[in-house]
Symmetry: C2
Subunit: 107 residues, 2 copies
DNA sequence: TTAAATAGTTCATGAAATTTGTACTTTTTA
DNA sequence: TAAAAAGTACAAATTTCATGAACTATTTAA
């Protein structure tokens, strides 16, 4: 009997600028974050698929980076993982940063 | 007789947001860029040393990343490489982005 | 005018991060 | 109960990162 996976998300004060920039320093992740910001709601991983023909495991990997950075909390609901952008927290910690970046991200 | 090294810097329109974020997604590079922005003048590589006991070759590596991203043109003057932040260009391409990020970078 | 010092580059190596394929688990639905 | 759906885990191949040692080019000093 394998224990149920629990996701761990960093505290707000442990989120560094460099790590946020690293999490966004990839066109796919930038697009996912942009989509989440526009939608202003949660998505499943598959829904957030940023481009066709992408391996699930690769997508997984990108989600893990964003989760461990603290950008995206993940919650398991039934079959799906519901992911949301931690918008409030990020705006609290780095006001203006998200909006500024999303101005220049191509969706 | 080995030819003189010529640095190549990307055009403004070839600088992508993701690559800029990638170039800044490292505390050392963030600090170097912050210093250049504050100083608003050129520096030699050694002057820009972001922390003590850092290998020259490692510093090199970071400069190369920033140069190839297009953040920092390099010009050889005598013994030194003079590096400057491409502030005008970056502000042209991504207005507000640099200032926004530097608000949260710890120098 | 050679010798040493300075500033930086290059290359090889090993460590870490990315991408992907395959096999697995868990939950839902037929 | 079996199959499908949504993810996860692990391993291999590739790429990027950090460092040490050896190199080049320019300046300064003997």
């Amino acid at each position: 009997m394998v224990p149920m996976i629990q996701f761990v998300h960093p505290n707000l004060e442990d989120i560094s600028l460099a790590s946020v920039l690293g999490a966004l320093a990839d066109p796919l992740r930038l697009r996912i974050v942009g989509n989440l910001l526009n939608k202003n709601d949660c998505m499943s991983c598959s829904e957030a698929l940023p481009c066709p023909n992408m391996e699930k495991s690769t997508l997984m990997h990108h989600f893990r980076i964003m989760r461990e950075t603290g950008l995206i909390p993940t919650e398991k609901v039934g079959l799906e993982n519901r992911i949301v952008l931690r918008t409030f927290d990020i705006k609290m910690r780095f006001p203006g940063l998200l909006n500024e970046m999303m101005k220049y991200a191509i969706s």
